[in-house]
């Protein structure tokens, strides 16, 4: 196995783990994403302790109860009279994973203490739990939308490249139109004619459809070019001479040639569409509160007081970068891999 393909495997499996772990968000998250702790707004990340005030060391980390400083809204003190060890597989809020309901959480502490790894937002909601559950929307939306955009792109690109003539002209002109339109404004206009309330599941589907549908033009142009060159190759012409049908030639000889490019495109498009979800939710076009997504979580950072006072509210933004790096590393490895194959 070549170095390039080993890399592809490594990055791809890391990404699979990442996306799979998002499915278990409800289990990993210690709290329900919309659970408000109204006496703990903008509490900083809970400190994990190993050494007690008496100096005694504990291997199992523990937290103290956090209470708000009297007369202040966002200042807190630890009540060190009792320690609350971090427990694993603790019972808590109910959640569902692929339709199965459960109430065991990976970790947590005994009530009334709380463990907020990434602090809380303005309503006292756990940012860590929201980040994980929000990833379900943001990451999955990216993958689904990229899948949709690529399928449309491959189908239309292949059609245009293979048949040429007026089909080619029509598809490519439409693609150019799609590239030229000012999408954000158009989407804002579309949102205003939709009904006032859209439930989160439908909003999510709508989001994926919109992002995917808008994005087909670029991959379509790429695929068209590949198909155009592939259909003139000798073995394709030979297959035709033997009387192969269009469908057969496309399936057997032309499209496989584009596989490398399609996969690379996928790895490039997913992060771009994750970002699109973030942008759309940021503008209020995505899923609505109280359902978290990275976009609507980041929207809170627009506020000057949040921007200057509560650094942990930036974490959804910071979380984006490792995800993107993984995808770009995969795209890079895929690119090298296909380059190797074709040479």
């Amino acid at each position: 196995m070549s170095a390039a393909s080993r890399q592809v495997r490594a990055w791809a499996s890391l990404l699979v783990i990442l996306n799979a772990s998002v499915v278990f968000a409800g289990f990993i998250a210690p709290y329900a994403p919309n659970e408000q702790n109204r006496n703990l707004p903008f509490a900083g990340p809970t400190r994990l302790h190993f050494i007690e005030t008496t100096g005694q060391f504990h291997l199992r980390p523990f937290v103290y109860l956090v209470v708000s400083t009297p007369g202040s809204v966002d200042k807190y003190e630890e009540d060190r009279s009792r320690r609350y060890p971090v427990r694993f597989l603790i019972r808590g809020a109910r959640y569902t994973i692929a339709g199965f309901a459960a109430d065991r959480h990976l970790f947590g502490v005994e009530e009334p203490a709380k463990v907020f790894l990434f602090g809380t937002d303005q309503f006292g909601r756990d940012v860590f739990s929201r980040l994980l559950v929000g990833a379900q929307i943001s990451l999955v939306a990216g993958v689904l939308a990229a899948g949709l955009a690529l399928s449309l792109g491959v189908a239309l690109g292949a059609l245009a490249g293979f048949y040429g003539g007026w089909t080619d002209d029509a598809v490519m002109r439409i693609a150019e139109l799609f590239l030229a339109l000012p999408w954000l404004y158009l989407l804002l206009a579309v949102r205003s004619v939709l009904p006032l309330h859209i439930d989160p599941a439908r909003a999510f589907l709508l989001l994926v459809t919109v992002i995917g549908f808008v994005g087909w033009a670029r991959p379509a142009r790429l695929i068209r070019g590949m198909v155009l060159s592939a259909k003139r190759r000798d073995h394709v012409l030979a297959a035709r001479a033997f009387g192969a049908t269009d469908m057969y030639v496309l399936r057997r000889h032309v499209l496989p040639q584009t596989a490398g490019v399609v996969l690379t495109q996928l790895a490039v498009l997913v992060p771009r569409y994750i970002l699109a979800e973030v942008t759309l939710s940021f503008f209020g076009l995505g899923v609505a509160e109280p359902v978290p997504s990275w976009g609507n979580m980041l929207a809170a950072v627009q506020r000057y007081d949040v921007l200057t006072s509560y650094w942990w509210m930036f974490l959804p933004g910071i979380a984006l970068s490792p995800v993107f790096l993984l995808y770009y590393a995969l795209a890079n490895a895929l690119h090298e891999h296909t380059a190797l194959l074709s040479s």
Binding site: N34, Q36, R38, P41, V73, D74, Q122, F123, G124, S192, L196, H197, D199, G284, A288, E289, P290, Q302, R303, Y304, D305, V306, T308, S309
Partner: protein
Amino acid sequence: MKRVVERLLTPALLIAVACAAVAGAPQRAAVRAEDLLVSRAEIGRPGGQLVINQRAEPKTLNPVTAVDSVSGEVIKNTIADLIHVNRETQRAEPALAKAWTMSSDGRRYTVTLRQGLRFSDGDPFDADDVVFSFRVHLDEKAHSGQRDLLTIGGQPIAVRKIDQHTVQFDLAEPRAGAERLFDGVAILPRHLLERFHTEGRLADAWGLSTPAAQMAGLGPFRFKEYVPGERLVLERNPYYWKADRSGTRLPYLDRLVFMPVTSDDAQTMRFQSGEADIASKMTAASFDVLAKARQAAPYKLVDLGAGLDYSFLFFNLNDLGSSKLPDTARKQGWFRQVAFRQAISLAIDREAIVRLVYRGHATPLWGHVPPGNKVWINRSIPQPARSLDRARQLLRAARFSSKPDGTLVDQRGDLVEFSIVTNAGNSERVQMATIIQDDLRQLGINVHVVTLELRALVDRLLKTHDYEACVLGLGNADGNPNTEMNVWLSSGATHLWSPEQSRPATPWEAEIDTLMRRQLTTLDPTARKRLYDKVQELVAQNLPFIFLVSPNVLVGADKGLGNFRPAVLDPHTLWNVEELFWRQKRSSGTP
């Protein structure tokens, strides 16, 4: 001969200036002695300018036709009224009127004007300007915002000139606190505006492109220049009719500079960096950010406590007919039940709103008169503590029931679910709606929060009635019940839950109509208070509005600004703009 008269007259004027009824007195003599009003504020030093941020750009400088608050903020500094409500004492005080008397039946007011005053272009002011101004404000075609207030018992106030410095006002029926009606009614320069008025083009007069020389007023400042998108500058009116105790003519400041800064956050940053000198109507979040750096900062911040604004949740109680919006009409079956509204009210955690949304800078509310309105509040309005159990009991009694999974259903088995709309630009309202959403989830009610642009929202509320519930706020400009007539009368345009009814839809709305109309004509203050107390009771019992909180008035100003005495009444910081001064000379290049 003429000279003799002048000589005789001048000392007479100096001794008893109020005695304006010197028949046929030559005007020229009167101009010499100016009836200046002497301010009791700290004596300041002249010079400098004040930079003020605004949410948007003003649309006009015409005091008659301006309707938006941004234009109003600018215009207030260029106009004067006969009788003015002191924002600090909340009492009516003489302004352009030197004195006034009320007849015993409360229907005739005789106002004596200050003599020798001039408009900001130097032209003299007298009773003709007053009569002209009221003619304009009362002219239906002029679309003055003041017209409704000046129409009493269905008839416009009759204005008559007695002599050059005395004007008489006749009311169709007695009106409690009628002198307050004069507050904010701008006295206009007849010599500049009469032409526009007779030609019916008043709305075209005094736009932002009008040359400064064609505008004049009696306020402390006058228009200087307007640079679109950048700034609007007012300059000192050299003829202003107030002076300080040392005899220096007010205002002290040379210029007011208004700059459009659209976002709250940008305004906060500009104030923090000293690019703006004054901050009014700050959000609690901005206030706290600024407060954190207060020790080292060159500004001071003031929390004036509860103001006169109040926010509330209300349901769509409009008569929707049978045609459109069948879904909303079905839900109105719940909304119309008082028990349902009471249950919602009991479930709302007002303390959480105060703490989480306003960071402690607000007061929870159960009635429509906020605690900032000390004169009119009915302190016996019950303030039931939040109780989900009590809310559930009420819902059960109203034949709502819970499904095993906790969701609430009505007697037909329909899920109780509705959306709350609010304006996207107001993050505090959006946050309140988010808290209510979570509160009601605990009753098993599924609430969706939908944010809309303000204009689209108002359109739904007042025109199409296509909404289910809404979080909104209202303010009372001077704390007086009369200014809230259009909210509480069932025929009122701001009777938000069901505006402009041809007849009251419910017995309690009919009763409120009667009480509000009666308090309007009751002269005895205690009797009037009793009537308004009853209105507050009825509102609190029937909850057409489910009251949430009243935000505190939060303001700030540069530490070097003298006579800065912010008030709970609007305009909070600029009500005494003529008295404001800089303690130290500041380098004030033109911005």
